[in-house]
Symmetry: C2
Subunit: 360 residues, 2 copies
């Protein structure tokens, strides 16, 4: 088992990564909680809930709730219903919430923990590769019909328990989605990390050692950044590399057409293209492009996609300030920087980029 420690303004927590951790939950719980309440979803429940229950029930009174899998459960309605269940299960300030699932479950359960009785302890148990990203850093939220994650808090967990066994049951599309965020962590960090990822073949069964190594290093990049800027006033923005166009594509195409990571993958390609133009430099555009193709990432976008709509959406991004689009660019691989890009420049580059994707 590997472990990374993350310091926040209010606590310090360990991210533990290894096989079979779901059978050893008592190792990660070091308070005498009055009750434990597990929040999971309908995909994860049949696979892993019984194991987690079995490892907790000898020591704690445990209740749980299962929400429908999918982003639509990150709603105010579901949030409020869970709060009601939590109250009716008799949880108090000395109780613990466990988020067992992917990013949706972590965000939802984390926001319940952040706001029930003004905040009680919670533990993240991510079960997807993508959640290596969302489970670390303390961002929790639910969606509003007007936009994703508009209601939320910064609320760090007490621990992140990452059982890599659970990653072998996720579909290829979700593996791609999660690996895109690992790629992002490598691009904003350094060349050797990216070169290691370049060797992975996502279409074959993942090798435990390789996967754990990539997750460990990805989490380390993220942890270092959030320790320096917990509330995203500054360098935490670097984690949005690839996300400006990524988010715009997700909402323009309609959620679910591309996974989050697939949209971010295209967003990273574009961010590299813009970086090359902006800094008159050369970056591994070609090697990322080929790796994405080799691993069957969807790359060509529908020719009907509208450049002006995309740019308007990039401006509406939660992180947008003022009028022009803010993008995280790379001066060099491993040297992220936030820059304002004028509409005129952006339109030209985006049109050229979209044409190139179709041509290839």
């Amino acid at each position: 088992m590997d472990s990374i420690s993350v310091k926040t303004s209010t606590n310090e927590y360990a991210v533990s990564i290894g096989p079979g951790l779901r059978f050893q939950m008592e190792r990660f719980i070091n308070k005498s909680y009055s009750k434990i309440f597990i929040i999971t979803d309908s995909n994860v429940e049949p696979l892993y809930l019984p194991d987690v229950l079995q490892s907790l029930e000898p020591s704690f009174p445990v209740n749980y709730t299962v929400v429908p899998a999918g982003e639509s459960s990150k709603s105010a309605r579901v949030y409020f219903d869970i709060i009601t269940e939590v109250i009716q299960s008799g949880l108090d300030r000395d109780s613990l919430i466990i988020a067992l699932g992917g990013g949706m479950v972590g965000d939802l359960a984390g926001f319940v923990a952040a706001t029930f009785m003004r905040g009680i302890d919670f533990i993240q148990m991510p079960t997807t590769i993508l959640a290596h990203d969302s489970s670390v850093g303390g961002k929790v939220a639910i969606n509003h019909p007007e936009g994703k994650n508009l209601i939320g808090s910064f609320y760090p967990p007490q621990a992140v328990v990452y059982d890599v066994d659970t990653l072998h049951t996720i579909p290829l599309m979700e593996i791609r989605s999660g690996y895109a965020e690992i790629v992002k962590h490598s691009f904003i960090h350094d060349q050797p990390f990216w070169e290691d990822i370049e060797e992975v073949d996502l279409t074959k069964p993942l090798l435990d050692d390789q996967l754990m190594n990539h997750l460990f290093r990805g989490i380390q990049v993220k942890a270092n950044i959030v320790e320096l800027d917990e509330k995203e006033s500054n360098i935490r923005q670097y984690l949005n590399f690839g996300h400006t166009l990524g988010h715009a594509l997700e909402s323009e195409l309609g959620y679910g057409k591309l996974t989050h990571g697939e949209a971010v993958a295209i967003g990273m390609l574009f961010a590299i293209k813009v970086s090359e133009a902006h800094f008159h430099t050369e970056l591994p555009y070609q090697s990322l492009f080929e790796w994405l193709k080799r691993n069957h990432y969807p790359i060509a976008l529908p020719p009907t996609i509208n450049v002006n709509n995309l740019i308007n959406r990039m401006k509406k991004d939660k992180k947008a300030k003022k009028q022009s689009v803010q993008m995280v660019l790379l001066r060099e691989l491993g040297e992220p920087i936030t820059e304002s890009i004028e509409d005129f420049t952006l339109i030209g580059l985006l049109e050229q980029f979209l044409r190139e994707l179709v041509d290839r």
Copy 2:
């Protein structure tokens, strides 16, 4: 104008107390906010909203919303509707929310600020005496049908701007309610503070100097305690002096029968009674009792009130731990301490106390 500085784990803010502050809001805003959104209620709107708008509009784009006065606006429904208005008004992470009103508005608007886009700045502008308490200390919340303040955060404001002019328009019942919390602050602090309050006559127009002095000292007591224990793990519990029975009375009689402070006043009398029995000491029970009578606090409770129900409610208190009732007692005036009281003892003392109240 007087000012008290409050340090929290994440910021430091000033509580400014004085007349006419609502006309000088620009003095208290030291960032270039993209937008300001004021949340107020239907009682306060006609009295003070125009003044606040007038003092802000030259410098900022301002929107506002008015919720119905009364505790029922502290609901998930109203909260969500305000979030929607806030989004539609175009607020972003660089915007400011102002809570203009009593404790209900402060709690509700504070929770909106705490959770919109994972937290944006907010300023408390309390307009009641009771809110001298709730506006300082960073507790924000909404109610759940199962209990008050069950959904909330610890989220400090950027500033508290307390215009004492606004306190002359509140009804006598609300003056009594607010003064009960000042009395509480004196009892957990020291004798001289209580002796000063003892001289006030709430049935006559309040004298500005005296009121400001009492508010200032009450806020200082509170600020000192929350600085030492922001998240209520420890000595912040002392602020619950009088609240264990107070909360039980409020819910047993039905909210609205007694104001919060009136219920706390009876709760303090009882807490003093229990303290005297527990520590074999003598406390100013009689002088508090007489002050309450002189100022027309409702003291006699309906003879039908059920002692067992009250004790069960005292056990359900959000702050209750384990099985027996926890109460804040006084070893001496100014020396609070949290103690567990056995049911057997509590029943006897409560029955005797209720009989005495009726007899007098």
